[in-house]
Structures are given as structure tokens and as C-alpha cells.
């Protein structure tokens, strides 16, 4: 698919890939290369200029750059939101919200308001909110970009735990190479605008992965290769 904005900005050029459940595809690229545009087109938030998006049945999980929690709702009410919009009944909503909050490790915080949570906790609530609909496909738009390194690492591990538990397919946008390689089954490297796919890498490590993987020589080598493709651009 491609995208040209009305002002003539050619943001994405003939990008094509597919994601199956159980696959974790990360897209890395310089800022402004149209990574987010890709996800917005994939979720119908933005019309594609040419090309098409084919999706399996089921809802789409979408975690944005910021947690986008409604400040007037408690954690529990925020997590229930999507079920509410999809018309699920109250009892079912509550059950799913409780499960999702438990899964992201925020049990006991359900009556807190977002303002009293840390950045990392907010992202978890945001994740839990999408998990309630048990989507076969998840989009992540630089969800941990604004977090400090320690929180980011921790949430990477948490995300993988949830990924192996729930078994969805994921498209994850980031500009952090270590994060990309650590999380994914596939890494796509995009060029700067107009965004094209320069190269793709298969990540051979099996799940579950441990954070120590980052210090594995094979890991370092792979990250190095990805970095090289980006640099040559």
C-alpha cells in the first residue's frame, strides 16, 4: 500500500507485508518515515491512497504512543471502555476487565484514576483495555517511546509474556533497535520518506525470551546488521 497526503507529502511507498497470529513483526525506521501512517492505514483510521488492507475477522488491538486513558474514568472503567463501545453487557465487561487488569499485573489498582498512575502503569492499562476484546491482531505505535529505559525493558518482557499467553499477531513500531530485535519474530527496516521497506530480518530466538538475551553474541550481531541497514540509508 502507499499513502500520499493531500498536501503532496508522499509518506509511504509500496509497503507490503503480512502478519499471522503468533507472529511479532516490528517496523523500525527513522522518525518521520511513515511508520505510524502505516498503522493508521491498516486500521482504517486513514484511507490508503493505493493498495489494500486485508484483515481476518475480529477486532483490532491498538496501543498508541501515549496511553490515551480517559482521565474521568477509573482504571477499571477505562479497561471496560472497548467492551462498552462494542455493546457487551455489564457482567461480561467486568469479568473481562478484571482478567485483563490481572494479566498486565495491575490487580488492586482498578479504582485508581489515570492521573495517579506512572507512565509505565498507564501503558499497561492501555494494553489491558485492548486485551479485553481478545483481538487476533495488535498494533503498537511506539508504546514505550516515552518511558525510561528501565521501565521499557521491564515492559518489553511483560509484553512478551502476554504475547505468548494470548497468541495474537503483532505489528510493533519503534525506533529502538534492541527493543525491535528482542520482541520480534520479524524485523522490517523502513527508509526515510517516502517510506519503503529496505530489508527484513528473521529473529531466530524461541519464546519465552529472557532479558539476558540482549547480551547474547548472536543478538548483538543481528542488532548490528539491522543498524547497518539503517545507517546505509
Amino acid at each position: 500500500m502507499s499513502k500520499t497526503f493531500p498536501d503532496g507529502t508522499h509518506a509511504v511507498d509500496k509497503v507490503s507485508f503480512s502478519v499471522e497470529p503468533g507472529q511479532f513483526v516490528t517496523v523500525v525506521g527513522p522518525s518521520g518515515c511513515g511508520k505510524s501512517t502505516l498503522l493508521r492505514m491498516g486500521s482504517d483510521l486513514l484511507p490508503v491512497t493505493s493498495g489494500e488492507v486485508r484483515k481476518a475477522e475480529g477486532t483490532l488491538g491498538y496501543v498508541f504512543q501515549d496511553a490515551t486513558l480517559l482521565p474521568w474514568r477509573t482504571v477499571q472503567k477505562n479497561v471496560e471502555l472497548f467492551c462498552e463501545l462494542r455493546g457487551l453487557e455489564r457482567k461480561e465487561r467486568r469479568r473481562r476487565a478484571e482478567d485483563a487488569i490481572e494479566l498486565v499485573g495491575l490487580g488492586g489498582f482498578d479504582q485508581h484514576y489515570p492521573a495517579s498512575l506512572s507512565g509505565g502503569m498507564k501503558m499497561r492499562v492501555s494494553l489491558a483495555r485492548s486485551l479485553t476484546l481478545d483481538p487476533p491482531l495488535f498494533f503498537f505505535d511506539e508504546p514505550f517511546g516515552a518511558l525510561d529505559e528501565i521501565t521499557r525493558e521491564y515492559l518489553n518482557a511483560e509484553l512478551l509474556r502476554i504475547f505468548t499467553h494470548a497468541g495474537f499477531g503483532a505489528v510493533f513500531i519503534t525506533h529502538n533497535l534492541y527493543e525491535a530485535v528482542f520482541l520480534s519474530t520479524d524485523v522490517l527496516v523502513m527508509s526515510s520518506r517516502p517510506g519503503r521497506i529496505l530489508n527484513s530480518f528473521q529473529v531466530p530466538f524461541p519464546y519465552p525470551r529472557h532479558l539476558d538475551l540482549r547480551f547474547d553474541p548472536t543478538f548483538a550481531e543481528l542488532t548490528g546488521e539491522v543498524s547497518e541497514v539503517l545507517r546505509d540509508e
Partner: protein, 269 residues
């Protein structure tokens, strides 16, 4: 949490807080006495009676006090009716403007006109059409207090972050759901801020209205005019104090209401 402070320290800190305003009050009273008893000739003291005179005639004389209190009651009735109507009309029109751009572009300029036309210029017409009693006073209140409600509600409804809208789009929320579950709660802090401004304005509107619409039982505004005419300066002070108190009370009450409604998640001032 800090340790509970000893009584003495508490007393001292409250002295620091209360001290300066009390001092200012004493200075003002001193100057007041000075002007009233020293500067003014005895036969011109009616211009500024001494504080104790004001207290005696204006507040401790039951007949005088009851007259002002009755006026206060009527002013409260007028201003709160006006405010209620302004809230209903203002919010309804803001919601309609938020739903269709053409409604906003067509009607918003007239909302601004209502705000800018001098109230005195409308008064004769209102009087001609609705008479010179309760109804006309309420209309003046509505005209004076509706604008902040319209603008604040509209601003609140329209200032939803785009990413929140994306969430609702992703899950195919319809227009009504979006309004009820997203735009309206998002607007609440602004709406309450508008109520607070308008509540103060509606008190002013009621008092101003009574200067012109003199039929029926006199409210505070009518009394102010009456006491001025008859040079009853002590009672003029009483009416003045009660109209200020009403304004302060209304402002405070709507602040409290706002904190109760959105204080859990929003920092209200």
C-alpha cells in the same frame, strides 16, 4: 503525612494567615471613622455614617434588616431562574453547535452579539414586550449570563484530544455515544468553570434588571435605588453587603459543585 502539629504552632500559623487581613480591616475601619467623624461636617455625615451607625440602623433594626432580606430572597429567585434558563439554553445550543459545523458558523456570531450589545440598550425593548416585572428581570439575567456557558461548553466539547477520537473511531462508536461518553465528560471541567462565571453574572443581572423593572416586590437592586433616592445610607450599606455576600456565596457554591463533580480526576481551581 506530617505529624500532627502542636496546638501552639497551629495557632501561630493561623495567626500568620488571619493576621494581615484583620489588620487591613482595622485600618479601613479607622479611616472610615476618621472620615465620618472628623472630616465630614455633622450635617453631611449622612454621606458616610460611622460603622457603628451602619450596624445599628442597617443590621440591628429588625424592620430594616427584614426589608433587605426579603429583597435578597427575590434577587436570589430572579438570578437563579435566569441562571437555570441560561444553563439549559446555553448548553443545548453549544451541543447543537458541536454536532454540526454549519450550526456553529450560523449561530455563534449571534451569541457574540448577545454578549456585546449593551444591556441598557435591550432593556426598553424587553420592558415593552414582557412588562416591567419578574419575567423581564429574568430575561436580563439570561442575556447577561448565557455567553460563558455557550463558549465554555462548546470549547469543552471540541477540545477532545484527537487520539481519544481515534479510539472511538476504531470501535465504531456512533455520534451519540461519542457525545455522551467522550465529549461531554471531557467538557465537564470547562462547563463548570462556565457555570461559575455565569452564576456571578446572573446575580449582577438580577440587580441591574431591578433598576429598570420596578414592578412587583422589590429585590436588592430596587432597594439600592430606593435607599439612594431617600439618602438612607445605612440601609444602602446593608443592601450592598448582602448583594456582595450573595455573589461570593454563589461563586463559592459553584466551585464546590465543580469539585464534587470532577474533583476526583481534574484539578479545579
Amino acid at each position: 503525612m506530617a505529624e500532627p502539629r502542636p496546638a501552639l504552632a497551629r495557632l501561630r500559623s493561623s495567626t500568620y494567615r488571619m493576621g494581615p487581613p484583620v489588620l487591613v480591616l482595622m485600618v479601613v475601619l479607622g479611616v472610615w471613622y476618621f472620615i465620618s467623624l472628623v472630616i465630614l461636617d455633622p450635617d453631611r455625615q449622612f454621606l458616610l455614617p460611622a460603622p457603628d451607625e451602619v450596624l445599628k440602623v442597617g443590621f440591628l433594626n429588625q424592620d430594616n434588616l427584614f426589608q433587605v432580606l426579603e429583597g435578597l430572597l427575590w434577587t436570589v429567585a430572579v438570578s437563579m431562574s435566569g441562571l437555570l434558563i441560561a444553563i439549559v439554553l446555553g448548553m443545548t445550543s453549544a451541543i447543537m453547535m458541536s454536532q454540526a459545523k454549519w450550526v456553529e458558523t450560523s449561530f455563534y456570531p449571534y451569541a457574540v452579539v448577545i454578549q456585546t450589545v449593551p444591556i441598557l440598550a435591550i432593556v426598553p425593548l424587553v420592558g415593552l414586550w414582557l412588562g416591567f416585572g419578574f419575567n423581564s428581570r429574568v430575561v436580563v439575567c439570561v442575556i447577561i449570563s448565557i455567553f460563558p456557558i455557550i463558549t465554555n461548553t462548546l470549547f469543552g466539547l471540541q477540545s477532545v484530544p484527537p487520539s481519544f477520537h481515534d479510539l472511538f473511531t476504531l470501535h465504531r462508536a456512533n455520534r451519540f455515544t461519542r457525545l455522551i461518553k467522550l465529549q461531554f465528560p471531557n467538557a465537564l471541567p470547562a462547563i463548570f468553570a462556565g457555570f461559575r462565571i455565569s452564576a456571578g453574572l446572573s446575580v449582577i443581572g438580577a440587580i441591574v434588571g431591578e433598576f429598570f423593572f420596578r414592578k412587583g416586590i422589590p429585590g436588592l437592586g430596587r432597594l439600592l435605588d430606593l435607599y439612594r433616592g431617600r439618602l438612607l445610607t445605612e440601609q444602602l450599606f446593608t443592601a450592598l453587603v448582602f448583594s456582595s455576600l450573595l455573589g461570593i456565596l454563589v461563586f463559592w457554591a459553584f466551585g464546590l459543585l465543580s469539585r464534587l463533580a470532577v474533583g476526583k480526576w481534574h484539578e479545579t481551581t
